[in-house]
């Protein structure tokens, strides 16, 4: 179907999220949306999906104006949306989730499981989205859950699919699989709106790119003829550096010394299996790996969120294995958690409150149990400026920020205090290129100031750009770290389970 947005305007208190946006999405087109954090991409898509109502403007499907009172109407009109946080019932099977709400029944209203599963099977074959209809959703990796979401939309006969940053949580391999499916959807005549901050991805999959800046469409681009640099400049409105400048630096004493730690998962199996790791002052150690190989658990143990089942953790020569989270944070450990919405921000609190969250009861933000609003506001204003957090004010609730701006809040507050060790998990997930540049620079600054930095990232570009040494997690064990330079291919091989000799030998 052909979809047209005309003059869409949406205001929130203090911001115009969409400002007279015109957009046409042709039948069988993959349309890329590019724009800085807070540019209004998600808002526009939420309007299209009936979640928000536009203040002005109209939506036309195949030339006919339509109005949506809610997502139900949008779905009926053939629009499907996959949010990053999936709306699946964890204990239901794939087939049950996909057919939920439009169940297959035989006489007397009995569920027809067999026909539901056959239908799911058919859809998954047709579009190259392999899933096991019998699998229970909570046991599946994110990438597969995302497929289930897409199939759910297809089962409801979506002819236009909105994918809001679908690749932010995918591994490179999963991204490839998604792209293949997107191509076959396109061949079937369906249209797709694809949002991503990764310019490479736009160039790889998209037919036409619309660029949003501060709520307005500032241009469209043909991905085939526009370079990444040009796209970045168009989006930010100024030249952006896409690489990190990093001078060599002498490393100092060991800040973090991990000795043989083991962490058990919920089922009692070791998720982290006897890991040793030293990180020194003035160096960045990047940990790569396919999601689910124990990186998450390792970071949680090092930062005091989960207990270890064995081994010791030392911070500047002090045994901190038994430290609680608060003790560790106050001892000079900074942590950027992987799941920002769950562990990073309190959505109902203001931006200012979130910017001091881990220091809520410490000077200068509190004094003998009394919160000091002046000091909080002062630091918050500064952080908002430094990190270019796009918010109407520091008193806006953090939950109303755009995804990338919320991430910047989480990142900013860790840089506001003196740290000996910074552990950053997916620090730039969902962040636009301009801000990635800035966050990377700040991470390098931290290292130059003499902090020890651990980065966990599924973004190979990020790993290779920042690391002084790189390690790979595979099946709960840590391989490395190896001093840079290590080639992209070698890291890839290590992630797939090759031994260091194989990996290095094959590529050096």
């Amino acid at each position: 179907m052909k979809l047209e947005l005309r003059g869409i305007t949406k205001r929130f208190p203090g911001v115009v999220a969409n400002d007279a946006v015109d957009l046409v999405i042709e039948e069988g087109e993959i349309h890329g949306l590019l724009g800085e954090n807070g540019a209004g991409k998600s808002t526009l898509m939420n309007i299209l999906y009936g979640l928000y109502t536009a203040d002005e403007g109209e939506v036309l499907i195949d030339g006919e104006p339509v109005t949506f009172a809610g997502p139900g109407d949008a779905i009926d009109a053939g629009i499907g949306m996959v949010h990053q946080h999936f709306m699946l019932v964890p204990v239901f099977t794939v087939a049950e989730n996909i057919t939920l709400g439009v169940e297959h029944t035989k006489g007397l209203g009995l569920l027809d499981r067999r026909s539901a599963e056959a239908e799911v099977h058919r859809l998954s074959e047709e579009f190259g989205l392999p899933v096991d209809p019998h699998a229970v959703v909570e046991d599946l990796p994110v990438g597969v859950q995302q497929r289930v979401e897409i199939l759910k939309a297809l089962h409801r006969e979506a002819r236009l699919l909105i994918l809001d940053e679908p690749t932010a949580v995918l591994t490179p391999q999963e991204t490839e699989d998604l792209f293949r499916a997107m191509r076959s959807l396109k061949e079937s005549g369906r249209s797709i709106v694809f949002i991503s901050h990764k310019l490479k991805e736009h160039k790889a999959i998209v037919d036409r790119i619309s660029v949003l800046r501060r709520g307005r469409i500032v241009g469209t681009a043909d991905p085939a003829t526009t370079s990444e640099q040009e796209l970045a400049n168009l989006m930010v409105g100024r030249p952006v550096g896409l690489t990190v400048d990093k001078a060599d630096r002498e490393t100092g004493e060991a800040v973090l010394a991990v000795r043989g730690i083991t962490v058990l998962d919920a089922r009692g199996k070791p998720a982290v299996d006897g890991v040793d790791l030293d990180v020194h002052r003035g160096e960045i150690v990047a940990i790569a790996g396919v999601e689910g190989n124990g990186q998450t658990e390792l970071v949680r143990a090092i930062t005091g969120l989960d207990p270890v089942a064995g081994g010791t953790i030392e911070l500047l020569g002090r045994d901190v294995t038994a430290f609680g989270r608060k003790e560790l944070l106050r001892a000079g450990v900074g942590h950027i958690p992987e799941d920002r919405n769950r562990e990073g921000i309190v959505g109902d609190f203001t931006v200012a409150e979130n910017l001091v969250l881990p220091m809520w009861d410490a000077a200068p933000f509190a004094e003998r149990g009394r919160r000091r609003f002046g000091a909080i506001a002062e630091v918050a204003e500064r952080e908002v400026d430094d990190f270019d957090i796009r918010t109407p004010s520091i008193h806006t609730t953090a939950g109303s920020l755009s995804g990338g701006n919320a991430q910047k809040v989480v990142v900013a507050r860790e840089f506001a205090r003196p740290l000996d060790l910074l552990v950053a998990a997916q620090p730039t997930r969902g962040v636009d290129v301009g801000s990635i540049e800035y966050i990377h620079r700040r991470i390098v600054d931290k290292r130059n100031e003499g902090a020890a930095v651990v980065i966990v990232s599924s973004e190979l570009d990020e790993v290779l750009a920042l690391a002084d040494r790189v390690a790979v997690m595979f099946h709960g064990r840590l391989v490395g770290p190896f001093p840079m330079p290590v080639s992209r291919e070698a890291v890839g091989l290590l992630m797939a389970g090759a031994t260091p000799d194989e990996a290095m030998g094959a590529t050096r």
Binding site: G70, H83, P358, G399
Partner: protein
Amino acid sequence: MTTPEGPDERQVPPPSPDAASADEPEVRGAEERDREHAAPVHAAAGPMERFVAAVTGTSVVVTILAFVSAMVVGALFIALSEEAVRESMGYFLARPGDALSAAWSVSAEAYGALFRGAVGGAYQLSETGTAAIPLILTGLAVAIPLRAGMFNIGGEGQVIAGGVVAGFVGFAVTGLPFLVHLPLAILAGILGGAAYGFLPGILKARTGAHEVITTIMLNNIAIYVTDYLLSTDRFRLEGRSDPISKTVEASAVLPRIFAGLRLHWGLLLVVVVAVAIWWLLERSTFGFELTAVGKNPDAARAAGMSTGRMIVLGLTLAGALAGLAGGAQILGLQQRITGGFSGGLGFDGITVALLGRGSVGGTVAAGVLFGALKAGGRSMQGATGTSLDLVVVLQALIILFVAAPALVRAIFRIRAQGPATGELAKGWGA
């Protein structure tokens, strides 16, 4: 002179909805915006979290309209319970005007009597104040745990625990001067309630036992233990076989403020407590931590906050306030512990806190309102014969409307801003 407040005394409504909205201004500004984000509390929010968010997240307007709706439905009940109105219903189709005007005059008369009974003079005001004292305290005892995402159903048990301990210190300790004995008895009440709130707190923090279940159970334990105590010689008033305790020493009685009126100095305690709790919740690091734990326990933990500590402290503090309410009832009003002296105060506190939307200002205002209903209802029954049970009905209606903001919005055609479907979850793209 000291009519013990029996368990049958409940409340009724005066037409002054404005009272229900004394709230911190900063919150009000954020209100409409919050609606847009009511849904994405966080993806894993359970029914409890969503209930708490629904109650504390509704706007002042919706709350007031909920109250108005309850009044209107209440008027219907008044009218239908009236013989004359029912008769005119018989020929409703022939002459609908009769039925309507009869209904109108009956309910207007009842509400008028209610209003006069609540604020019509010094005596009435004193009665309203007297009734409001414990209601505000038990309301806060629900509002505080609500901050931390917990639902304290145990106000009743905590009131009883506080009242019994305060009363015991009041009659069993003798020979102390007033300035020592009264504070001691009050403190005993607070500690009794606090201990009774600590219990479900520690159970939840240590074992995960849900506070709704444990506090309900503890209510029953408190009731029956009190019955038992009142049957022992240590407590029972000599020469009486019914459950009534010895009389509190004069040195432990909370004195009246004005001669001849029942209003006692517990009022001052309530004012001090309310201000202190407001400061604690809105200005202190403790309140911030408590609220963070309630809003997003995972993020709170990741920020180094202690969820377990907040659970225990939140419920203990709640218990302390409910205990104070019990102590004030015994020391200020009854001077004797009786079986069932709490009379549902703990449960009324739930209504008060919900109507007050969990904020301190709102809870105080709702407590005063419900005190007025209670006092006014009694005189309405005397004046117009409308049953005092109407107050209970109104209370139930208010809960119903407050707990279902979507219903109120539908009735008054207020558009909920943004997604009300709960389908919008915040993702990376959000």
